[in-house]
């Protein structure tokens, strides 16, 4: 007579289809005389069946992921290299995302949905359906047409605010980025003057695709600034922040 534990082990092995014929016979014999084990087997078979999902990922899953990832890369690059402005659609999004922006910083933007990366489907705001006026990331240029980005520390060391482009006339309005979706409700923009400490403190570190470290800032904070663009680039050190291109409401920008 074997111990009960022995049969429990057989029972477990059976769930995995690992019994020898001999063991199978032994277990069957035991089950006939042991209602407890029968019940256990039934329950565990139910578990097995519930979890027995050998699902193949749908075709195109990896592609969809990569589309979203590339959208993410593009969005972040675009955030870095372009002037950012905020689409009119932001007003529609404001209720959802609790964002307020000073009207002076706004420009009329289009809000087509077609190039919107899957990634930014406002996952934290499920209660409100995405409005057609939600801003989306726009990046009219193919990724490989983007020039190489200078390393962040070049900017820190250099005097060249490479990304500073107060007007960046080359970027037509319709290609400017509404920024809200680009970084999950945070504004991530460029910086080139003194950065107010409160912004640095409130910044959430961001890892950019080229390894740069940036800080995303909650939009609410920017209410106080007429922020045309701001993002803190620091090479990892918040105190080394470059500065921020922003105009204060009193007109003493930079």
């Amino acid at each position: 007579m074997n111990s009960h534990e022995y049969y429990e082990e057989l029972l477990s092995l059976r769930l995995d289809g690992l019994l020898t014929d001999e063991q199978e016979r032994e277990l069957e014999e035991h089950l006939e005389s042991c209602p407890g084990c029968r019940e256990t087997l039934e329950l565990l078979s139910g578990v097995r069946e519930t979890l027995d999902i050998d699902a193949e990922p749908p075709e195109g899953l990896a592609d969809a992921v990569m589309d979203a990832v590339r959208g993410d890369i593009r969005a972040k690059r675009a955030v870095k290299r372009r002037r950012i402005s905020i689409g009119a659609g932001l007003f529609a999004a404001a209720a959802v995302l609790a964002v307020a922006v000073i009207p002076g910083a706004l420009r009329q933007k289009n809000t087509k949905m077609d190039s919107r990366p899957v990634l930014y489907s406002a996952p934290e705001a499920p209660a409100v359906p995405a409005s057609p006026a939600m801003p989306e990331v726009r990046d009219a240029q193919p990724e490989d047409a983007l020039p190489d980005e200078p390393a962040v520390c070049d900017i820190i060391d250099g005097q060249q605010p490479v990304f500073d482009a107060p007007a960046d006339p080359d970027v037509p309005d319709e290609q400017r980025l509404p920024l809200i979706d680009a970084l999950d409700g945070y504004a991530a923009v460029y910086t080139f003057a003194e950065i107010p400490e409160e912004l640095v403190k409130a910044g959430e570190p961001l890892s950019l695709d080229d390894g740069a470290v940036g800080y995303a800032l909650p939009m609410e904070l920017l209410e106080q600034y007429e922020a045309e663009a701001l993002m803190v680039e620091t090479c990892g050190d918040p105190t080394a922040a470059l500065g921020i291109a922003l105009e204060r409401p009193d007109g003493q920008g930079q």
């Binding site: 059976r14 329950l43 027995d52």
Partner: protein, 206 residues
């Protein structure tokens, strides 16, 4: 992918190499999707959860320390993404069964699971998840490896640094404890007839 290759691929991906990241996605998509399916109980949610998990992975590559394997890290991300989706769908209204004006159920094409089936399955999955969640960490861990991550006995043995024989007995003990838990909760599989033979034939791995 060996551990070393994996490390290099992760490092490349973390530097923004999308091709490297794609390698990781293709390598792990089956496990991620299958886990998400086991947690959410629907193909559509599993797809969404998988995408979310990979995206989170991508966005957090910099924080991946490499002291565990990518599969373990992705397991965690997939679990979280799946739970988020479940929570979200709970907040939303449940899709009622489609009925005609007199209240009779309308025919729904067989190919798509009916909303009540998805719901039922989700309930079952949740009950199992909770019952497993109440076990001791050791038991929970080994059950998750076997039931959710489909790891073979040999893989479990190597992950937990145990002999295979020990894996067998630990797994058996964990399953018995799970069964006890389920018994206490009252059976959730009452409507099913025992299907153990079929299951054991289908599952021929280890």
């Amino acid at each position: 992918m060996t551990a070393l290759e994996e490390k290099e691929t992760v490092a490349a991906a973390a530097k923004g190499d999308a091709v490297a990241f794609e390698k990781l996605v293709r390598e792990h998509q089956k496990n991620v999707y299958s886990l998400a399916y086991k947690l959410t109980g629907s193909a559509e949610d599993a797809k969404d959860a998988s995408q979310d998990a990979f995206l989170r992975a991508y966005q957090n590559l910099g924080s991946f320390r490499g002291d565990s394997r990518v599969s373990v890290w992705l397991y965690r991300l997939t679990y979280n993404a799946s739970m988020d989706i479940i929570k979200r769908s709970r907040r939303g209204t449940l899709v009622p069964m489609p009925t005609d004006e007199e209240g009779a159920e309308l025919d729904v094409p067989d190919t798509a699971p009916r909303p009540d089936e998805v719901y039922e399955r989700r309930e079952e999955l949740e009950a199992v998840r909770e019952a497993i969640g109440e076990l001791d960490p050791d038991k929970r861990e080994i059950l998750i490896m076997r039931e959710y991550r489909d790891m073979s006995y040999a893989d479990i043995a190597s992950a937990l640094k145990l002999e295979e024989g020990t894996v067998k007995s630990r797994l058996a003990r964990a399953r018995m404890a799970l069964a006890e838990n389920l018994k206490k909760r009252g059976t959730i599989f009452a409507s099913r007839k025992s299907n153990s033979q079929k299951t054991s034939e289908r599952r021929d791995e280890g």
